[in-house]
Symmetry: C2
């Protein structure tokens, strides 16, 4: 087959991770977008609420964008939609549960756009521009997750989405290995696969391991069992319900977001419960401790979550009692470790027995380990390979796995966000990189936030701010009255108020007697004098701003 | 033996961790202090440099404090000395290397106190007030670490210090198990032991494992080897020197703090090198890549460290080349994960092969795992047990290990910092808790920092600050001129300057025409109006401060 155009693959979103939150696939006049996720800000992005992928490239080629295909309903794959749709209003293709989660998301954000949501079924091809797309089921830590097969004029692309291989998933929908094997025999041009856990040797354990462990804990706990997990981990909640029914316990869902998700998942049929197993929290007191299980959010130590309030004796209805067993059925998202550990410590302090951590096997993660990654490559037998979804080191390790399976060096591409991978049927190359930046969302203001704002916030957070106000006589250019000083986050007025008073005197004597016409010079003289004085007195360097008023 | 007084054990320092940084042991008119370490601030302690233990109790009983005994030379055991000695000037007892590190520390801080440093030898008893003390060697991730045997009128206390059991330590000084067994047979009243790794089953691997692994890497690396580790990990540096000599490579120490420690350790005899193995970085170019090893700091991703500058192509002399092997011979200190991962990613980007992580066995930690903890308890056979050095959950797990070995429930004490454990020969109980707070060190200002400062810094870091300056006519109480607004960290003046201008207009129209005598009312009206306006416009809530000047 000869093709006039090159196929272009562009990872567009991810903070550290590559191609995680958004990718574009382009051929001739058509662009298809995969996922539209948000990212959480890093520690030094002070006051930033969230980040979304840089849309510049898509906006520049807006007339080519034919649709957004979503692989699953996690925030890092759907969370940017409310911000993107007002700018790029194209159809969104997603499976049923994912669609439900997108609707909830858009409603939360009061998005005014009437999103064009199209429901897709695994195994049923649909057309997006000049691409044919088919979803295939994969296992991940949320139901209804899919990988994508994209039929392009140059060849077939397989994108794994977030995936692991689980022969005994709770929802009975294992990753479709025969479909992948069949494709492999037909010939796949490019495989793009999840590298999140490429550092881990071996296989990721099945959810069955967790099911057995949870069932054992629930069956043998001397009193109440409190299980904290992600609200999107519907299969984990299903396990708890099943186990509760077996051990004649009632399940109480604690916390609004957990209740909302459970309600939606029940309505859509992704969660089922025998009669009388799910109960209202108001009825908790009607049952003995041995008869109850509480399911709650807070597995990441989120300060406002039910579990954290319980751990801090701050919850209006639930107090930890001796004999309670608390299970943290989740792994820490990087950066949350300290919050989670503090919560576990406080639960122990209240007298609970807390079961947590990888060794306790009460959680398995949702991504494939090295042997699964090798299996995927081996089944799909792609001509070209591009590891995605992971930080740079994960991609390098995944690429090395592919090379270890015999793939030629120049058929394996380690990309960065913004890189343009160009492919024809015979060869591929990385052809440049878009000027790339994530977009901050801070309040309503969107756009790559001016670095000066973040820099100022960082300075403010270190040693606070001192604002000096001086009044200058319009005619004479002389200082009028005593300079005023306002400060925040610098010193404690009760104990160190005299430092501020001395600062005022110092400004008065620095500017007193002078004839001032140049405000810049006033500013720099005040700053110099006060910086020195404050540093000597406190070893702190607050931001110093002087404003002069003409009177 | 009858004793009139009770023995009191008080853990005094630790952020999360209990008894880690300072403990007090008190009998009648004598207090002995163990360790005097600093703590690093948590994420929400903005602008705080470091924390030291709360000294209130010791200052209130200053005339009773007889001495400070230091177990080893890590920052979290010696780092508070420069702040404590000016207030409590008592003798400091430490082994040779620890003493050297304390001297370096006091010199760095330009401490004016002439510290009374007393060198101690393991196995040689010394008197501190009415206590006899004897140090015994333990293995930890720094040489010359000791545990303490404290002979009190009530009985013998054993404090493990930070320890692990390593039969093949690099310095040939294993933990003195026979001494502990002998004590156990004589009868120990109380064991206090390191709980840092009580979550880990099994044994902590020996440094020998790391030695073999590093030797293999150094022997087979195709080019340069760059090894990042802690400068205090003298034994690790010794391994590298030994291996370099075997493989005919030269060792170059990169970075000032690493060079200082190596120099001190060589002078004191804790580090030895065959002739011509250690070379100056200036001579690096004289050798082929296969002949060189670089040892550097930066294993925690510290932004100004040599390794991070190398990873960012920001180092004046060293660039990563294809064929370089970088070894991260350290585990992340909790909270540093993101910085380290970013460094590893950047090293891969520069083309290095990076060897890192627990599975690669290029680092083992310095604390005992569960089997070692059980061994210690079994050998020492204490009457009472108090786990220390760890967060609350670690103490609970360690206490459960002791109970599992048959210790009676009421002989095992899980303490909090500030708890007073009172013991006589027959029984013990936790008798209350001191009002406890860590002391912040922020610049020169020490003392429990006013919470309002930290709260303000947090607010400032989120959405910045807006300062409104209005001039009010002294006689008429009328607004004079246009109100002025200064802001930082709130909006970008280039793009959003008009919001500030509109804010000025709004303040003018709010206050214009009025007769103002009450400044509090001016402040609250301005704040109310502007908060609402700014939130509508930006969804941000900057701190708003109004200052009124009489003219």
């Amino acid at each position: 087959m000869t093709t006039r155009h090159k196929l272009r693959i562009i990872p567009l979103g991810g903070l550290g991770e590559i191609g995680k939150n958004m990718m574009a696939i382009e051929y001739a006049d058509d662009i298809i977008v995969i996922d539209a996720g948000m990212m959480f800000p890093e520690d030094d992005m002070l006051g930033v609420d969230l980040l979304i992928p840089d849309l510049t490239y898509l906006l520049e080629h807006k007339d080519k964008v034919r649709g957004i295909v979503i692989t699953h309903g996690h925030e890092d794959h759907i969370g940017a939609l409310p911000y993107i749709l007002p700018q790029i209003d194209v159809p969104i293709y997603a499976t049923k549960l994912t669609q439900g989660l997108i609707s909830v998301k858009l409603k939360e954000q009061r998005s005014l756009i009437k999103a064009k949501l199209k429901q897709i079924q695994p195994g049923v091809r649909f057309q997006v521009g000049n691409f044919k797309v088919e979803a295939f089921p994969v296992c991940h830590s949320i139901p209804d997750a899919v990988g994508l097969i994209i039929y392009t004029p140059v060849g077939i692309i397989v994108n794994s989405g977030d995936f692991k291989i689980d022969y005994t998933p709770v929802d009975g929908r294992p990753t479709d290995l025969s479909k992948l094997a069949q494709l492999g025999n037909e010939g796949v041009l490019l495989l793009m696969a999840d590298s999140t856990y490429s550092e881990l040797p071996g296989y990721t354990p099945s959810e069955k391991v967790v099911e057995d462990k949870l069932d054992h804990i629930i069956g043998s706990a001397p009193g109440r069992v409190i299980i904290a997990t992600f609200s999107s981990l519907v299969s984990r909640i299903q396990m708890v319900i099943n186990s509760a029914a077996r051990h004649k316990r009632r399940v109480f869902i604690v916390g609004r977001s957990m209740r909302d998700t459970v309600k939606m998942a029940m309505e859509q049929g992704y969660l089922t419960a025998p009669p009388n197993v799910l109960c209202n929290v108001e009825d908790l007191k009607k049952y003995s401790h041995k008869e109850t299980i509480l399911v709650t959010t807070g597995s990441q130590g989120e300060p406002t979550s039910a579990l954290v309030r319980i751990a801090n004796r701050d919850h209006s209805e639930i107090r930890i009692l001796h004999g309670d067993t608390v299970v943290i059925s989740a792994t820490p998202i990087p950066g949350n470790e300290a919050l989670i550990n503090r919560t576990i410590d406080n639960l122990f302090r209240q007298g609970a027995n807390v079961i947590y951590g990888e060794r306790s096997q009460v959680h398995v993660h949702g991504h494939g380990s090295q042997e699964e990654l090798k299996m995927l490559i081996t089944l799909v037998k792609p001509k070209f390979f591009a590891p995605i979804h992971g930080e740079y080191r994960h991609l390098v390790i995944h690429a090395n796995l592919a090379r270890g399976l015999g793939m030629p060096e120049n058929h394996v591409f380690v990309l960065e966000n913004g890189n343009i991978l160009e492919l024809d049927a015979e060869k591929g190359k990385i052809n440049g990189r878009l000027p790339y930046g994530n977009v901050y969302v801070d309040g309503l203001v969107m756009g790559s936030m001016a670095n000066v704002i973040l820099r100022d916030r960082k300075l403010l957070s270190r040693d606070g701010i001192v604002v000096v106000i001086v009044a200058i006589d319009k005619k004479e250019g002389k200082l009028v009255g005593r300079p005023d000083i306002v400060s925040r986050g610098f010193v404690d007025f009760e104990h160190d108020g005299s430092i501020i008073e001395q600062g005022r005197e110092l400004v008065a004597s620095t500017l007193g007697g002078g004839h001032h016409t140049d405000y810049t010079s006033i500013q720099s003289r005040v700053k110099e004098t006060l910086s020195k004085f404050f540093y000597e007195q406190t070893k702190r360097r607050p931001m110093i701003i002087t404003t002069a008023i003409e009177v």
